[in-house]
């Protein structure tokens, strides 16, 4: 399965992912959304990610999902499911709010798992090249490449700063909300931003010095091969079928 995924060209993978993400945003039935999320999970596992790695990445999504589940039921008007007195107020989550929050969470999960499958099956340089080949604005591709490259450099700078503070006796006091700790973190972020700003200027000089200009496109955009056209067509047809099936399920429900 992993070999099959990798045999598909990266730009077809991106096109298929976009088609499926658009389909996900149009789906209204939880059955179809669960099906798509399951497909995303299977693809991510097939691309070589372990279940543990998938769950680890999902952890951060849980916070966003929890935020939606906690706020939307209280914000969307409708029939209250139950009422909970909270001091001078009464919390009354609605059925419509819960349904909407659940739907958005499932859509988010589906999109995330599909994107994870793409990221796991396509190394960053291939992904960037594919975006370039798809005609994505060069500025975006260059910025994405530079951001990917410099995440580790920024991380190293954070580590060096933390080490330098510790070597001079600094110990965090209490939680992150402690005034002194908070001030230290603010200084660290400020310093990081200033250094990143200086570095960005030097990187730009380095790009200019090797003839960089946004006016020209260094890699010519090549046409889709017939194999790529077929694969992309199949992905689009699958996405359309999903949406049509969803309409059937919704109509039946």
């Amino acid at each position: 399965m992993e070999k099959l995924i990798r045999s598909v060209s990266p730009r077809v993978r991106i096109g298929a992912l976009l088609a499926l993400i658009i389909a996900t945003s149009l789906l209204g039935s939880w059955q179809m959304l669960l099906l798509l999320a399951a497909l995303g999970l299977v693809l991510a596992l097939a691309a070589g990610l372990s279940l543990r790695a998938v769950l680890k990445r999902l952890f951060w999504l849980l916070w966003l999902g929890a935020g939606l589940l906690l706020t939307l039921p209280l914000a969307v008007p409708g029939t209250p499911v139950f009422q909970l007195p909270a001091g001078p107020w009464t919390l009354a989550p609605t059925q419509a709010g819960l349904t909407l929050a659940g739907l958005l969470c499932l859509r988010m999960l589906g999109c995330f798992l599909l994107a994870l499958a793409l990221a796991a099956s396509t190394p960053a340089p291939e992904l960037l090249e594919a975006l370039d080949q798809l005609g994505v604005p060069q500025l975006f591709v260059v910025l994405a490449g530079v951001a990917l490259r410099y995440i580790s450099v920024l991380r190293d700078e954070v580590r060096r700063q933390a080490l330098s503070r510790r070597s001079r006796g600094y110990r965090p006091e209490g939680s992150i909300l402690h005034r002194r700790t908070l001030r230290h973190y603010a200084q660290m972020v400020g310093m990081l931003l200033l250094r990143a700003y200086d570095r960005s200027e030097r990187i730009y000089w380095a790009m200019l010095s090797r003839g960089y200009s946004l006016k020209r496109r260094p890699v010519p955009v090549s046409r889709f091969s017939s194999g790529e056209r077929w694969a992309l067509g199949a992905a689009l047809a699958f996405a359309v079928c999903l949406v049509l099936l969803d309409r059937q399920v919704m109509g039946g429900g």
């Binding site: 960053a124 340089p125 960037l128 490449g145 530079v146 990917l148 490259r149 410099y150 580790s152 450099v153 570095r199 030097r202 990187i203 000089w205 380095a206 790009m207 200019l208 010095s209 090797r210 003839g211 960089y212 200009s213 020209r216 260094p218 890699v219």
Partner: protein, 272 residues
């Protein structure tokens, strides 16, 4: 012989009014190895940025192989003068070594096969061909430095300007880098190296340019570095071997490399 690089009365000041270069003039002959020396803040890096037309002269001229630097010629100048920055993390910005080395030739509008041939030759020249697919963050500092040089070499510049290339390198990596520079010199590339390392510059360079406070203090052979007064004015120090040989008045002219000192001492030793 027509110099490959001419700088005439170059002035530059930063937007906050700080003067960086005040009437810098010098010329460099084709195929020479030149060390640009001076203390921190002397204007060395600013001068190098002018040679690559990143900065254009506010007053004066920079002429590379007969081509005066200006808005209209800056792209040609950049393909003639390769600039290697001090920190390779600033320069090797692509997700893989291969992509980074291809960056310059692609910007020159070369065909795909030509880009690949140049990238391969450049990586071969710095001994990094086997690491072509590697991400720069997984390279050692010395390897990143060599990747930065390969990225510039792939553009096949006539002049290679390097800002503090030996900084932060261990002795083995320094030797490896020097070997690369010497090979480039043999191939006819003109080399200009900004450095503080007087011992290295005295032994390696054909010519020394001393820059202090945005002005040229002196230009000439490496024996310039044996003049204590001049070296003090340049906020540098004498080469260690010169410092030693100055203690012996009979050793004149004063040696500034180990080979010269050995040659000067050998007859005395055999005679004594």
């Amino acid at each position: 012989m027509e110099p490959i690089l001419q700088v005439e009365d170059l002035h530059f000041q930063y937007p906050d009014g700080t003067p960086a270069l005040s009437g810098v003039s010098f010329a460099i002959q084709r195929g020479t190895r030149v060390a640009l020396m001076g203390p921190n803040g002397a204007g060395k890096s600013t001068l190098l940025l002018h040679l690559n037309a990143i900065y254009l002269p506010q007053r004066g001229r920079v002429v590379v192989d007969g081509l005066e630097a200006s808005r209209t010629t800056e792209e040609q100048i950049r393909s003639q003068v390769g600039l290697v920055f001090q920190d390779p993390d600033d320069q090797v910005f692509s997700p893989t070594v291969w992509e980074d080395v291809c960056f310059g030739p692609r910007n020159m509008g070369l065909s795909g096969p030509e880009v690949e041939a140049r990238a391969e030759a450049a990586l071969e020249a710095v001994g990094l061909l086997h690491l072509r697919s590697r991400s720069p963050q997984r390279l050692s500092f010395g390897q990143k430095k060599r990747a930065a040089i390969a990225g510039v070499l792939a553009m096949e510049p006539a002049i290679l300007a390097l800002d503090e290339p030996m900084a932060f390198l261990d002795p083995e990596a320094q030797e490896g880098l020097e070997a690369i520079l010497n090979r480039l010199h043999q191939q006819g590339v003109t080399l200009l190296v900004a450095t503080h390392d007087v011992d290295w510059a005295a032994a390696w360079a054909d010519e020394i340019i001393l820059l202090v406070g945005g002005r040229i203090l002196a230009q000439g052979p490496p024996s310039l570095l044996t003049d204590p007064e001049l070296v003090r004015t340049a906020h540098l120090r004498l080469p260690r071997i010169t410092e030693l040989c100055l203690q012996f008045p009979e050793l004149r002219p004063v040696p500034y490399t180990i080979h010269q000192a050995a040659a000067a001492l050998r007859p005395r030793k055999s005679g004594g």
